[in-house]
Symmetry: C2
Subunit: 214 residues, 2 copies
């Protein structure tokens, strides 16, 4: 059972996150070492816009004004991206792989608290797994070729997660309806500690897959 205001908040957060991720990944594509890789990251970016449009339509169908609904999330997402600006191709890939992986796991959990059709919509706009596969393979083979990279990249991944969690707390503090939706949903199904445990386990597994330490 989900509160309408909180659902609008959630869809608006997700929509603006897609728009901002588009911007960031389109820009990061310039860091690619060749045209094939540049095209791949550009394509990952482009996929975000398709999802953005779907969320925007749903917001309008719910009677929300999409721009106004997204406004509360503009600064917090801009801050996240400003503080985690990739300096090279591997930082960009890890940001896409670790950051999006973590965020997707979180949204997947929250989707289970929503009613249809919003539940289905949120699940459908999560990132295509072939992009995670691409990013994971790129990172994995780079670390195999240059094991020294692993240490720096592990630190970078920790910084991404830390920054993401800190911005997530800010979102929760500034958007009580959304925070209540999550807390109530979590309370019905398990507990907040269980949620964090699952998110951390997913993150650790992703890191291990590509040869990074958590």
């Amino acid at each position: 059972m989900s509160h309408p205001e909180a659902v609008v908040d959630l869809l608006a957060l997700l929509a603006y996150a897609e728009l901002q991720a588009f911007d960031q990944m389109a820009n990061d594509a310039r860091l690619a070492p060749d045209l094939h890789r540049r095209a791949m990251l550009s394509e990952m970016a482009a996929a975000e816009i398709v999802n953005f449009r779907r969320l925007e339509s749903r917001l309008a169908a719910l009677g929300a004004e999409p721009q106004a609904a997204m406004r509360p999330f503009v600064d917090v997402l801009a801050d996240y991206h400003r503080k985690t600006e990739p300096k090279d191709w591997y930082e960009a890939l890890i940001k896409a792989y670790v950051g999006d992986g973590f965020a997707d796991d979180f949204y997947r959990e929250v989707a289970s608290f929503l009613d249809s059709p919003d539940r289905q919509l949120v699940l459908e706009v999560l990132h295509d797994s072939r992009y995670a596969t691409f990013a994971g393979e790129e990172i994995g083979s780079a670390i195999t070729a240059d094991p020294k990279l692993a240490n720096r990249m592990s630190m970078w991944a920790r910084r991404l997660v830390g920054e993401g969690l800190s911005q997530a707390q800010r979102v929760a503090a500034d958007n009580p309806a959304l925070a209540m939706l999550i807390l109530t949903g979590v309370g019905e199904q398990s507990d907040l500690q269980g949620l964090f445990k699952r998110l951390t386990a997913g993150h650790t597994a992703r890191m291990a897959t590509v040869g990074l330490n958590n």
Copy 2:
């Protein structure tokens, strides 16, 4: 009747132009005055990637290595975009409207010299007319609101066309097979002067539509 090497050159030029246009428009979206307009330009950018992938697949099907085939066009397109970097939202819109409009007219002419399925493919990857409509309406209403803008924007449009033609000459000089395809195709159907006349007429009509002088 089209020469295989020239067809590969043409599709590679078009493919890299799409990838570069994605990059430029995704970046220009940051100049948008609000979220709605930013999303619209981001979506225009994303559409380029879908077209890029179609051209890349066709290049591979023709036995070409897409990256190698695109390489001769990297510098010339980078130069065009570097020399025509928009300074504000209206310069970005005019670049999309005037530049893409001119380029699309040119590719539409060249498509008629190609055999199937390349002719059809080139026609299909030209820009969706609803984006030109959006850009045209934005420019038109900005000029109605602030007539002084028209003069500066007309000069900007002239610069875009001048820069585009100068880079096109460089492409022709560096890629004789492609230049021959166009000259032969033009020769069979009409004459080079006729082609330029049609391109100029299309450009003048686009400018007039939004209240700009050629």
